[in-house]
Each structure stands twice: as C-alpha cells, then as structure tokens.
Amino acid sequence: MVTPVPWKLLDDVSIWSQNWSWIPQPTRGPVEVKRSSCTLCANGCGIQIKMAGGWPVGVAGVARHPISKGALCPLAYGAHQLNWHPQRLTTVRHQASTSSWAAAQAAFSKACSEGTVVILDGHAGRAASTILETFAQKCNGSYRFVPSPEERALAPYQEWSGVATNALGYDLENAQTIVSFGAPLLDGWGTPGRFTRLWAEQAAGKTEPQLRLIQIEPTLSRTAARAWQWIPIREGAESALSSGLASIFIEEGLVSAKYPLPLLTLAEAADQSGVSIESIRSLARTIVARPPVVVIARDANPEIAALNVLLGAIAAPGGIVVKSKRAKPFLPSDSVIGSARAVLIDSSVPWEFVPHTDAEVFRFAAWDGGSNRADWLLPAPGFLEELTDIPTAPTSAIETYAVAPALTQSSSDVRNAVQFLSGIDSTLPSIEKIIRTRCEDLFHQHTGSVYDTEVSPLSKFESVTKFEESLWKGAIWVGVPPDATRFRCELKEWPAPTAPPPPENWTKTWAAPVLPPLASKLYQESSLREPPAGRNS
C-alpha cells in the first residue's frame, strides 16, 4: 500500500461504528461500593459490590471477612450478570405453559387441604427457613433439609454422637495434616477463601510445609496437583483404602483406639484400592507423623469418617469440633416425600435435586436449568434481589451471622417461597422480623465480635439497633472460637460400605442451574476445565 487513505477510512469507520445505537453502553450514574454476603451458596463469603446507577456492576471479596478472607470462587466475579442470564425465569410456568401466581397459590392451597405437603430447604438456618418450617407445622406438613456434599460428609458424626451435623465444623486452622478423600479443597470446597488462604500461607510451594495436604483421588485434580502428596487410587475405592489405613493404625498401634476393626483385610484393601500394602503402610505412618490430623471426605462416607474417630480427631483441636449448641439436627427428606400430596422446593435447593415422587411439585428457581421435572416452576429472586440472612457456613469451626439485603430489584414479577406462602397464610412472620429477633438474641448474649471496617466486640455496641444496622451494611458477627467442648463419638463396629458419590467441583456443586456467562472463559475459551456436564448453559 502506498497510500494510508484506505486504512484511515477503515479507522474512521471503526470509530464511527463504536457509537452505533446498538453497541451497549455502560450504565451512567453515581458509583458506590456496598458490602454484603454472597448468596450463591450457603457459605456466605464477604463481598463488596460496585453499584452504578443502582445496578451491580462488579463483585470483589472483602479482605477483612473473618472466614472468606477476601477470596471468592470464580463464579462470584461474574455473579452480577446472572440476573440477566437468558435462562432467567420471569413468569410462572405450569407444565410448560405460562400461568400466574394466583393460580399457583390456589393450586398449593388446594394441595394443603387435600393432604400432606413437604417443604424442602437447601440452606437451613436462615430466617426464611424458620418461616418455611412454621408453615409446614401449621398445615401438618413436613419441613426437610437437602444438605450439600460438605454437610453430608459430616452426617456420620451426627449418627454416632447425637450432635447435629450443622453444629459441627472442621478446625482446619489448627490442623497440621489434612487427609482429603477426593474433597475439592482447593476447588470450591466449603468457604473457598478459608482453605485456599490457609494453604497459601502454610503449604504452597514448601517442601516441608507447616500444613501437610494429602489428597487421595483417582485423578490428578486441581487439588491433587497442588497437594503435598497425591495418592492415586482406583475409582470408588476410597472406602477400601480407609479400611486398609484403619487396619494399620490398629495393628501397628499408631492410634490409641483398639477397635473397631475394619471389615476388609489389608490385602483386600490393597487389592481393591490399587495401592500396595507397603504404600498403605507408609501412608498410615505419614498421616500420624504430624498431628493434629483431620480426614475429610467429599461426601457422606462413614468408613472415611471412622478414621477421624480412630485418630482421635473428634472434639479435638485441629479436628471435628462443635461450633454451636443451638443447631437442630436435620432430617432426611427421602422418607417423607413419597407419600406427600405436594412438594414445595425452595430456590436454595440445588437444581440437580429431583424428588422421587408422584406428588405435585412446586419448584422455586431464579434460573431454568432444563430437563428437570416440576409441575409448577416459580420464578424466584436472583442474585442480590432478596433480603436474607446468612447463618454459619457448613464447614466453619465458629458461629457467624450476617445479613444480605436486597440491593437491586428484578425487572419481572418474582417471589420467593416465603412471599408465596405469606400470600396463603398472612399470619406468617416476616424475614425482617426474624432477623430482628436473632439480632436481639445475639446482642443479649454479649459474646463474639463484629467484623466491620474495624473489629469490635459485640459488647461495645450501644443498642441492638446499632448492631442490626451494622449487619445490614455488610458487617458480620463472629462467635467465640471453639472451646474444648467434649462430646462422645461412639463407634462400636466398622460402618458398612457405601457407594461412592460422583466427582465434585464447583461446576457441579453450585446450587443454581446455570453459570455466569463469563464462566465460559474457563471451560470454553480455555482448556482449563471440562464443560459442566448436564448443565444447560
């Protein structure tokens, strides 16, 4: 080219085209930053939301947050775009056709009068949970909780000790050796920032780390790749390997416990797991070499949980600890669903959860993940669109309480399960009222601290109103650290083998049926992750 004219013309067209009417322009308006807690899952990480013109335009972590410590999962960074996801539910649907809230309420009222209703909650302990439970009691129905994999992994201890699963947590900060049976500790397990920050400080890049992470998993996962030791085993052989380890713990006197003896012999465990007897022996010695030790399963597995009993990791620093004396045990949902007339599923229940029933299903969800049976699909508020409180995270070792107010409004007529039920029974309490009561309860205890821009003891607050105001503005109340509360965990015989759960990571365990659109950067525009199977995004 001898003349720059064509290039200049192209350049001008480019600049001109940037101002075409259909090119999206960012929102104009005052910019402010608000603090709250993430509501994508039950872990309630601290978030700061950049708002422009009243709309959320960016999400970041809160460095001062006592649990998440400024870190978030990848999804949270694109969560503010979720409310405009193409699969957002905007209208009531009844068996694939459009319906109305009035029709849905009439149908649910009719079901309540005709038989038992079951209400399913995926995030127990919230103010909304109390209201759902109250409604279930008033109409002689059942309120049940659908636990996450992390909560299911703690379930065996409830059975053995009588302490509620949601009262238990992992004292990771005091552990020196963490043995993970496939739990994605560095890939969205529990409150993501809690373990990743701990690992980064105490283990990352160190040949002799302060915290030893041993990952037992068939494949070299993200967590296995960063672990101090990776022990590859055969798919589904976690129970066999835990039996083998238990045999050696008892046989070599590595633990003080003398029973229960596992059902498998060491040779059988080695054969089933694909790990040689010598390697199992070496692993067992390595595990006990640096106490305190805690073993973490990725889902309910009593045989893996039994290792913690043998290792003395129950009610001990660096092990499984009691964080709350107030928690109520959750009840399994499967036993009651079968005979129900109707099942109401709160939007906090993972989309993948499908109740096996012929009952009429009323399902709340902000996003439609497709391929999931529900007679009524009811559009629920999306990210930051509803007021909720955030009780203690499932794996946390200390009690916490926070409030996540509605920071933005939905452009369509959405309702949560509480608003829906309040339309049927106007005597139900409001979420605001229950949050107020909980703040009063905490305030009158005078224990714990409030993490705001500064950390203040709760006793410094002049009134419950001031305390509640600070929570509404993004502060978090943190209880006292776990004391040496002892509880007995009886295990008279080795647990029966269980079927292994499918592999987990954040693309599968997140409660909502869709991912933020920008998550495609990870699994579509790079080779970092496999596309989330079965998700319709």
Binding site: W7, L10, S14, I15, S17, Q18, W22, I23, P24, Q25, P26, T27, V31, A52, W55, P56, V57, G58, A60, G61, A71, L72, C73, P74, L75, Y77, G78, H80, Q81, N83, W84, H85, P86, L186, T196, R197, W199, A200, A204, G205, K206, T207, L220, R222, A225, R226, P232, P516, P517, L518, A519, S520, K521, L522, Q524, E525, S526, S527, L528, R529
Partner: protein
C-alpha cells in the same frame, strides 16, 4: 519518577481456579460470546495448564497465567503497528492498546511472542438487559480490533483522580490494583512498581528462583514468574535459552 508497573506470579501458589480470568473479563467489559473458542475468545489473562509430561504418580502439573508481559525494550507489538495504536506509556511502563486507532491488521498478534493478544471477532453483545451490569469505567470495544491486558488502566485513572482530589500527585499503591491481582484467592499474583526500590515487588522480582518466559528475546518483559519446582523452571529455560536470565540480573 516514572513507574514501571509489573507483576511477579508465584506459580507454586496458582491453583488454576480461573478467578483472575473472570474478574478480568467482568472488569474490562469483555462480552460473553457463546460462539467463542480458545482460538477466538478474548482472554486478556489466560491460565494455561502445563505438566512435566510424566505419567502416573510422577506426573506434576502447574498452572501458568499468561497475560501481556508489557515488554519494556523493543516492544514487538509497538514496532509492527502501522497505526500507532500501541504505545508504551513512559510514565507507567504499561503497553497501551488504543482500539480507536486499531484497524485490525493483527500484525501485533503475530509479533507478540507470548500470544497474549486477541482479535475481537464479534460486535460486543450482551443478553438483553445485561448491559446494565457493565463497568462504567471501561468502554466496550468494537468488532475488528485487537485486545489485550492493559493492567486495568481504568483503575489507574480512578487512583489518579482520587489522588488529585486529595491534592496529591502520587497515587497510593493500594488504590491501584488490577482486577486479576485482587481476585487471586491465594495471592499468587503480586503487582507493584518494578522501578521503585521501596516496593516489595521490586525485590521479589530480583529474588532467587524468579524467571521470565522468552527472556532471550531481550524484550525485558515486566511479568516475572517464580517457582521452587525445578521442572517448572526448566520449562521456562527451555523456552528462553539457558542462562538467558543471567544477562538480565
């Protein structure tokens, strides 16, 4: 004093979670393009998975975030751009890309030794209503231009405005942190002024075990990496030629 903003990325801390990639795209208004592939998508920071190519228990993997290295010397993309759409900001050391000047010839993409530049194949389109979630500090770029990391230049502007409002001429380091650095859950990505001896990143970039990819090209990239894993360092040396780093001290 002129700044020389750069990074030190601790590969031993990177878990490959990808938070940096999503935070970067959200901050810089990169549109979600359902049709995009690894070849056609826009990922100003891209985490690549590398391995020691062994199998079984001997296999090791690491994650390497790749972004514009903001080359300081003979910056290849600057040299080939016919439109002067790329320039090195002498005040900050940031290699700036100006989409208004870019005509989309993609010479710079060819010239970039790190493949850290991306062509904008499509008009920026968001699902209906999602434009309300765009960051007001960053304009969306038109189809047909090249994109890359600019170290979240909008955040630098905000920091300068804040400093000016306070009557200061120098920004507070805490006020200017790129989105990827802020989002990294393990603190693997550290950002700072490599020209400032009081900055911790200055010293970290000169600590043992620190290396740069393709250092033998002599472009003085301002993104440094570190790892205690010998095979990771050997990977970089295989790229950059043995002893190349020694020349750069």
């Amino acid at each position: 004093m002129n700044a020389g903003y750069g990074m030190v990325i601790d590969l031993d801390r990177c878990t490959g979670c990808g938070s940096c990639m999503i935070a970067c795209s959200a901050e810089n208004n990169v549109a979600p393009t359902p049709q995009a592939t690894p070849r056609t998508g826009i990922t100003p920071i891209l985490v690549r998975k590398v391995s020691n190519r062994m199998e079984g228990t001997a296999r090791r993997e690491a994650f390497v975030p790749i972004l514009c290295m903001h080359c300081e010397h003979d910056t290849p993309c600057v040299k080939v751009c016919p439109q002067q759409a790329v320039e090195v900001d002498k005040a900050t050391g940031i290699v700036m890309q100006m989409p208004q000047r870019c005509l989309g010839c993609r010479y710079c993409m060819t010239a970039c030794p790190y493949h850290a530049r991306y062509y904008n194949w499509w008009d920026p389109v968001w699902p209906a209503g999602m434009e309300k979630s765009l960051n007001p500090g960053v304009a969306s770029r038109m189809r047909g231009v090249v994109e890359k990391c600019n170290l979240c230049h909008a955040r630098l502007h905000s920091a300068k405005e804040k400093a000016a409002a306070a009557g200061k001429r120098v920004i507070e380091p805490a006020d200017y942190v790129p989105a990827c650095v802020e989002a990294c859950p393990t603190g693997a990505i550290r950002f700072g002024n490599l020209a400032d001896e009081s900055d911790p990143v200055y010293h970290e970039s000169r600590s043992p075990g620190v290396f740069r990819f393709l250092a033998r090209l002599g472009t003085e990239p301002k993104v440094y990496y570190k790892s205690k894993e010998a095979w990771v360092r050997e990977l970089a040396e295989a790229n950059s030629g043995r002893g190349a780093e020694a020349k750069h001290g």
